[in-house]
């Protein structure tokens, strides 16, 4: 019988195969930065501003201390402009004449031992003149509400659709409320850590724990006065990141690189937990104000939102966090008249930064709490109201984007409500009934999450992936995935390997996906925004397909088996050497975006989710127990169901912490007040609820094989679902996160007093 080559279904995509790095991790063999030997390495330490705002008059070394044993770096040692490029070049690597937050670096010290470096720091006197400081979100929110000119705006942006003010004036009913949430710490279990080594050619090699290797290259090349190719960056195993290792490692890379270049030897900094919580970025605190109008028939007439983020001392990435926030602040519901006013304000605190969801959880916290308020005002149940008003295929978003494809609404909403029998359970809610032993409540939230970068961001960065045909081992040819996406626990190496194997039509054993090293990989963009599987994965899939075609052309025949691949690939490698093919991501045809007016297609696609929370509240102690979460998600084509579910479970538990546990404020000295694991409390195995989770697949056809984002989605909607459930249980509407028994008590007393 003649052999026929058949196009077969993808073989690896869709399978819940074990992670490619699992074995190393359960054997304790994965090498994180602090596990690596650094021959002749010194330890670095950062000398920090003692108060939240001051003019730096000078640094006075103690003449009694032997400074010959250490290396000190100040702003004067920076060869180029003293800035981390980021978005506005405003943040110095090391403060020179003014510092804007307690803990801002004023000097760096390296020494053979960490003890000596710390000892030296104590002998360096910081001379400064203290200036007034603004420390909290509440202060800036008050300034905003009273049009106080003292408010320092780091950036602003609006979204307009129709005429929200006119529609509010005409509305049958108007519902108004404010919602706030504090900082949240990423609390990856591996603290921040990097090593820098001078290279022979005057450059520097930086390696360790990070999400975005090319950020370090492009944001430090000016300060280090080095061409990008002389800054080589490689990731080590990363022990969790969640956005916390997005922009912060660039700052840390600046510290170790400057020290290493001056000390002419490798320098390592690994933070201890206390330093890590005190001096690294957190989720932006938010204050939002919703004014919404309802029509008589229970549809939404207008949504007007003020959305204010506490950006901390410098802009860093806060503009983009706010953009994602405002794009989600009125998303999900049909409404012709929308106005969203987004603002980032300065406080004298550590710059706020990336954390899973990147502004969307803050926005959805307000919106989905407020939807319950609108439902009540309309005389409808929360689920009826959502089913009536949710966006579906063909509807238009606040930016005017028509949802043309891959719309998992209302499927996720309908399926979640059905799975948990919401209608039935809703009738059982206690609503603070006196005399009950326990109060029961159920609450729902529904949301979309823009997949990949905002607007035309993906087109602007020209993300690409490469596949190398090379020897995986002597005599064993295969495809090597070359991307700058990092493995930080989410499973990128595994998922990208699955996609590469399917692109090649080969077994997983003929594919390898090593940690990125900027000396070897093209820039596929940062490992953020739930874009890796969708955007970079699609590029890998495309590049692998091209590689296969190139080999088939070389051989003049199709490759139908692994054995044939081995023969043809070996012949190619022996004749020509390594072969690299690249694939570039392209936005769906017709994508239009105006970055100035925020009109157009704000994201190439959306993932969709629905969370239902069931809670029990103890009427005596007001202790809150989240008993069960039911959730459906549309993340497009699910590449690895086990890993995807792991992302959802882990994200939901982080969101549980955000909702009811994780509390961190700013003390009078401008420092975080819960700066140890003893005081910053996150969920343990004892705290987790029953979780009933499932997917509905609406593949995204413009990025084969059709995945959308998953990583951030589970962080988005749980807090409002819980707040809605708590109201159903207690009759108390909580509008500030985290919702603690203490806050419930205070609120109940206020209500009694009325």
């Amino acid at each position: 019988m003649p052999a026929t080559v058949q196009t077969r279904d993808p073989r690896w995509v869709g399978q819940g195969i074990p992670r490619v790095d699992a074995e190393d991790k359960v054997r304790g063999r994965a090498q994180y930065v602090d596990d690596l030997l650094v021959p002749n390495g010194w330890h670095g330490h950062v000398v920090r501003a003692p108060v939240p705002h001051g003019l730096l008059r000078g640094l006075t070394p103690d003449p009694a201390f032997d400074w010959s044993r250490v290396v000190v770096v100040t702003a004067k040692d920076i060869p180029g402009p003293n800035c981390i490029v980021s978005h506005d070049r405003s943040m110095p690597v090391i403060a020179s004449d003014e510092f804007l937050y307690a803990g801002e670096p004023v000097a760096l010290i390296a020494a053979p031992t960490l003890r000596l470096a710390r000892e030296a720091a104590e002998h360096l006197r910081i001379d400064f003149e203290e200036r007034p400081a603004i420390l909290t979100l509440h202060e800036v929110a008050d300034q905003f509400k009273h049009n106080d000119p003292a408010l320092v705006k780091l950036c602003g942006q609006t979204i307009r659709k129709g005429d929200a003010e006119a529609a509010l004036a005409r509305a049958h009913k108007v519902v108004e409320a404010e919602y706030t949430a504090g900082h949240q710490e990423q609390l990856y279990i591996e603290p921040q850590g990097l090593v820098a080594e001078p290279t022979g050619d005057g450059g520097v090699f930086i390696y360790g724990s990070m999400q975005c290797p090319y950020f370090i290259v492009h944001e430090l090349c000016e300060a280090l006065a080095l061409p990008p190719e002389k800054i080589r960056v490689k990731q080590a195993a990363v022990g969790g990141a969640f956005g916390g290792k997005e922009e912060f490692p660039t700052w840390l890379a600046g510290y170790v690189a400057l020290l290493a270049l001056k000390a002419k030897r490798p320098v390592k900094i690994v933070y201890d937990r206390h330093q890590d919580i005190l001096y690294t970025t957190k989720r932006h605190p938010v204050w939002s104000r919703y004014r919404t109008g309802l029509n008589r028939d229970g549809t939404i007439a207008a949504i007007a939102v003020d959305f204010l983020l506490d950006g901390g001392a410098y802009l860093t990435l806060s503009d983009v966090v706010m953009y994602r926030g405002i794009l989600h602040a009125a998303m999900g519901y049909r409404c012709d008249h929308v106005f969203v006013n987004g603002l980032v304000a300065r406080t004298n605190t550590v710059p706020s930064g990336a954390f899973r969801g990147f502004g969307a959880p803050q926005a959805i916290w307000g919106l989905e709490s407020h939807v319950d308020a609108m439902a009540a005002a309309a005389g409808m149940t929360p689920h009826e109201f959502r089913l009536k008003n949710c966006l579906v295929q063909g509807d238009t978003t606040p930016t005017g984007q028509v949802l043309k494809w891959s719309v998992g609404s209302p499927a996720v909403l309908e399926k979640s409500l059905e799975r948990c029998r919401f209608d039935e359970q809703w009738k059982k809610c206690s609503r603070g009934k006196p005399g009950a032993k326990s109060w029961y409540g159920i609450g729902v939230s529904f949301f979309a999450h823009g997949a990949a970068f905002t607007g035309d961001g993906e087109a602007r960065i020209k993300a690409r992936a490469a596949m190398d045909l090379d020897w995986l081992a002597p005599g064993r040819p295969g495809g090597i995935v070359r991307v700058s996406s990092t493995e930080m626990g989410q499973g990128a190496l595994t998922v990208l390997s699955q996609l590469a194997a399917d692109g090649l039509g080969l077994d997983l054993s003929r594919v390898s996906c090593p940690f990125p090293d900027t000396a070897l990989v093209p820039n596929s963009g940062p490992t953020v925004a739930s874009r890796t599987t969708m955007v970079v994965g699609s590029c890998v899939y495309g590049a692998a397909g091209k590689l296969k075609k190139a080999l088939e052309q070389f051989a003049g025949k199709p490759i139908a088996s692994g054995k044939e691949f081995d023969e043809i690939a070996s012949a190619y490698l022996n004749k020509h050497g390594r072969l690299r093919v690249e694939h570039l991501f392209v936005l769906p045809p017709g994508t239009q975006w105006d970055q100035k007016t925020f009109r157009g297609d704000s994201y190439p696609g959306y993932s969709w989710g629905c969370n239902v929370a069931e809670v029990e509240v103890d009427p005596r102690t007001l202790g809150i127990r989240v008993k069960k979460i039911t959730a459906f998600y549309d993340i497009g084509k699910v590449v690895n169901p086990v890993l995807a579910k792991g992302q959802i479970e882990g994200g939901l538990v982080q969101a549980l912490g955000y909702s009811v546990m994780e509390k961190i404020g700013i003390d009078r000295k401008g420092r975080f007040d819960a700066s140890r694991m003893q005081t910053y409390i996150i969920p343990t195995m004892q705290d987790i609820p029953e979780m009933d989770l499932d997917f509905v697949e609406f593949p995204f056809d413009h990025a084969p094989p059709g995945a959308k984002g998953v990583g951030e989605l589970p962080m988005d909607g749980l807090a409002p679902a819980i707040a809605n459930a708590i109201e159903a249980a207690t009759g108390l509407r909580m509008r500030d996160l985290p919702i603690t028994p203490e806050k419930l008590y205070e609120h109940s007393q206020k209500n009694l007093g009325r």
Binding site: A22, I189, G239, G646, I682, M691
Partner: protein, 159 residues
């Protein structure tokens, strides 16, 4: 500086170490013995990433002064797991169920699992949660770790 000499049985092998004053058991294992599998996540006994078994009991090695661990003590770290049948079963179960994500908490987590299953072959849900309450994981939401422990319990060797 005066040091103290201690001889322990670590993962079944005899080791003699010279310990300067104040050295933590965690540092002795990582730096003196080169067993880098055990991790430091907080240095104050909260996260559990540094959990090892000391004479069969799970302890946070960042809180123990190495000099106070007596001669002859038996210590087991993540590197020792694969030398035991139960350890291999646990590792397989963790892999199969997708219990490791970033993996940084796992060297401690899996030692708590091992200590539990070594004592209680058929733990119930509450016992599993209690046994791992001192191990913080920020990635997984714990579900898959619980599944892995249950799977390993099913396969645990008869005495």
């Amino acid at each position: 500086m005066s040091t103290v000499k201690r001889t322990w049985v670590v993962n079944g092998e005899r080791w003699t170490v010279d310990l300067p004053p104040g050295r933590r058991l965690l540092d002795a294992l990582r730096n003196d013995l080169g067993l880098k599998g055990t991790k430091e996540g907080c240095g104050e006994g909260e996260c559990g990433a540094c959990t090892v078994l000391l004479n069969g009991e799970p302890v946070t090695s960042c809180l123990i002064a190495a000099g106070q661990v007596p001669d002859g003590a038996e210590i087991m770290t993540v590197e020792g797991l694969e030398k035991t049948e139960g350890g291999r079963i646990l590792q397989e179960a963790y892999i199969e169920r997708g219990a490791a994500q970033c993996g940084f908490c796992i060297p401690g987590m899996i030692m708590s699992s091992f200590a539990l299953l070594s004592k209680t072959r058929t733990p119930d849900d509450a016992e599993i949660r209690e046994a791992h309450a001192g191990n913080i994981c920020r990635c997984t939401g714990y579900e898959k770790i619980i599944e892995a422990v249950k799977l390993a319990a099913n396969r645990w060797p008869e005495k």
